[in-house]
Amino acid sequence: MTRIGQLFQRLKAENRCGMIAYLTAGDPTPDATPGLVAALERGGADLIELGVPFSDPIADGPVIQLAGERALKAGTTLARVLEIAREIRKTSEVPLLLFTYLNPALRYGFERLAHDAKAAGIDGCLLTDASVEEAGEYVSQMRAAGLDTVFLAAPTSTEARLKLVAQYSSGFVYMVSRTGITGEQQNISDSAMPLVERMRAHTDLPLAMGFGISKPEHVAAFVGKVEAVVVGSAIVRQIERDPSGVEQFMRELTQPLGKTSGGAIS
């Protein structure tokens, strides 16, 4: 079992909803990322999604697009993100999920990526534009290396597709709260809760809800409904605005989860 699986076991034992924090690795620089991850962890993040920047991020809104541009300009590559993971692992056992698009992974090579990611202390991977239909080779290489493969479920997904998403996912299933790209929004979409109910019918895996979650009241709305919530763009925006405020920002967002400070248990 990966650190991701262990985390969700622990959350269950503690009867607690987890906080998944996304940041674009390499934004503003690769050297800054380990420190930002440590701040997120101190602020209460239970799992870190390390975004690997891609030149053409079709699923991302302007905040993460711009972060990706900054990271690429600062020389961030997939190989460099694995180095960052190794750096994080020197001091932390927080679960790490690589979050990117298919082409950088394809170019790196799935087998090589699975091996190198595992060696760097990565626990799993999510490729936004890898549909389950096209993911066979990728999933088998990742699983063979002992890594989790997380897939997206969307409000538009049919029952047949949710079943496939459940089959191909391990660790957890990432629920997309609304039809849209990444980014903050005022209110939680009405499509989020029905999706949770539909997904439960197909899997016992933990469910994490993301897209548009940016305020403590959004987080509070999902407590007791899903196993974890994901915050992305709001964190990226905080990093852009004031990196020194990241820990406090994370702490405010995790407040409704009943956890004021933390870090995973080693």
């Binding site: 170019r107 239909e133 997904s157």
Partner: protein, 399 residues
């Protein structure tokens, strides 16, 4: 024999497929389903054919370019006059087809991307015709290069949204259109303009343009009594090329020649010759040849012609390339402009810059093939490019 249809997942050999965020998977399944149903519906074809005939102006002529052929002193060159279609390019074929599908799906809002503006104009045109709301995404750089088409779209009632990220060209316009589609998928159809993107687009767009090749094949048989020795077309995303190539694929003796944008030269970032400088990868929903760096980041491209200025190419072309059924070469900016001048002065036809790349290849190889006949697909007319021709031909622009 070469399979002329993709498999159930939209794969052309190792290429094609459906690589999009999960939100778009069901809408693509719906589109595929609607298209498959329409394909078998005689009423759909009757309406499409009627519009192509009475509105778009099909069939287009196959014209024997006698003076150009004699000047070159080699192969006989025939020109397939897609430039004579309503809106000035082949793009309207696909736009009418997809607008009919949007109506079948009950979608009242259309979005599209455009590079040179030809697809944007054709989309704005069919939206006016069908009373649909229309938004066209266009890179800021392309809006500058193709000002006339921007105005045409607005005159037709479309909103033109400038895209300011990345290279501010076609690739970025496609990304922005995909983001819009992800967000507004319940009421919106994405009218993709080339034989690109996720399944079913590459096969569907090709099918709507196959009429070019079907007509050309029949026309050349009528006038020459035999098939051509070569069919030549420019390849950006590759819609005009696959449209004219496809009905000839099983005709073994017919060379299929695609011409990519050679731009300013062979350096990465200077051209859009995917088969010369690229390698397989996944971009914007499909697997095909890509111009990319060693980390899998997509490269910037350059072509004087906005419609060929794209980092990837339709997946069926990738398969035809690997099978050596089609040959792909490139033509640089300078030769394309020179070919446009030659065609203008020998035949009185000013080609679109995109199509000028195909003309240039015909001019290059014709002298070595006396006794042969070539068909060149003239995918669009040059009116939209007058500003660029003026910039590049200052000697004609006397003060």
């Amino acid at each position: 024999m070469i399979a002329t249809q993709p498999d159930a997942g939209g794969h052309f050999g190792p290429y094609g497929g459906r690589y999009v965020p999960e939100v778009l998977m069901s809408p693509l399944e719906e589109l595929q389903h609607t298209y498959e149903e329409a394909r078998l519906d005689p009423a759909f074809h009757a309406e499409l054919d009627q519009l192509l005939h009475t509105y778009a102006g099909r069939p287009t002529p196959l014209y024997y370019a006698k003076r150009l052929s004699e000047t070159l002193g080699g192969a006989k060159l025939y020109i397939k006059r897609e430039d004579l279609l309503h809106t000035g390019a082949h793009k309207i074929n696909n736009c009418i087809g997809q607008a009919l599908l949007a109506r079948r799906m009950g979608k009242k809002r259309i979005i599209a991307e455009t590079g040179a503006g030809q697809h944007g104009v054709a989309t704005a045109t069919v939206c006016a015709l069908f009373g649909l709301d229309c938004t066209v995404y266009m890179g800021e750089e392309d809006m500058r290069r193709q000002r006339l088409n921007v105005f045409r779209m607005r005159l037709l009632g479309a909103k033109v949204e400038p895209v300011t990220n990345g290279s501010r060209t076609l690739k970025d316009a496609i990304s922005e259109a995909m983001r819009d589609w992800v967000t507004n998928v319940s009421n919106t159809h994405y009218l993709l303009g080339s034989a690109l993107g996720a399944h079913p687009y590459p096969a569907m767009v090709r099918d709507f343009h196959r009429v070019i090749g079907v007509e050309a094949r029949q026309q050349i048989l009528e006038v020459e009594g035999k098939l051509p020795d070569a069919v030549i077309a420019c390849v950006g995303g590759g819609s005009n090329a696959i449209g004219i190539f496809h009905p000839f694929i099983e005709d073994d003796g017919v060379r299929l020649i695609g011409v990519e944008a050679g731009g300013r030269g062979p350096g990465l970032g200077q051209h859009a010759a995917r088969f010369e400088g690229g390698s397989p990868g996944v971009l914007q929903g499909t697997r095909s040849y890509l111009l990319q760096d060693e980390d899998g980041q997509i490269s910037l491209t350059h072509s004087v012609s906005a419609g060929l200025d794209y980092a990837s190419v339709g997946p069926e072309h990738a398969l035809l390339h690997d099978l050596c059924r089609a040959e792909y070469g490139s033509c640089n900016d300078t030769d394309a402009i020179a070919a446009a001048v030659t065609l203008s002065r020998t035949e009185g036809i000013i080609p679109a810059l995109e199509s000028a790349h195909a003309v240039a290849e015909a001019i290059r190889i014709a002298p070595a093939h006396p006794g042969q006949t070539f068909i060149v697909n003239l995918s669009g007319r040059g009116d939209k490019d007058i500003d660029i021709y003026r910039e590049n031909l200052p000697e004609l622009d006397a003060k």
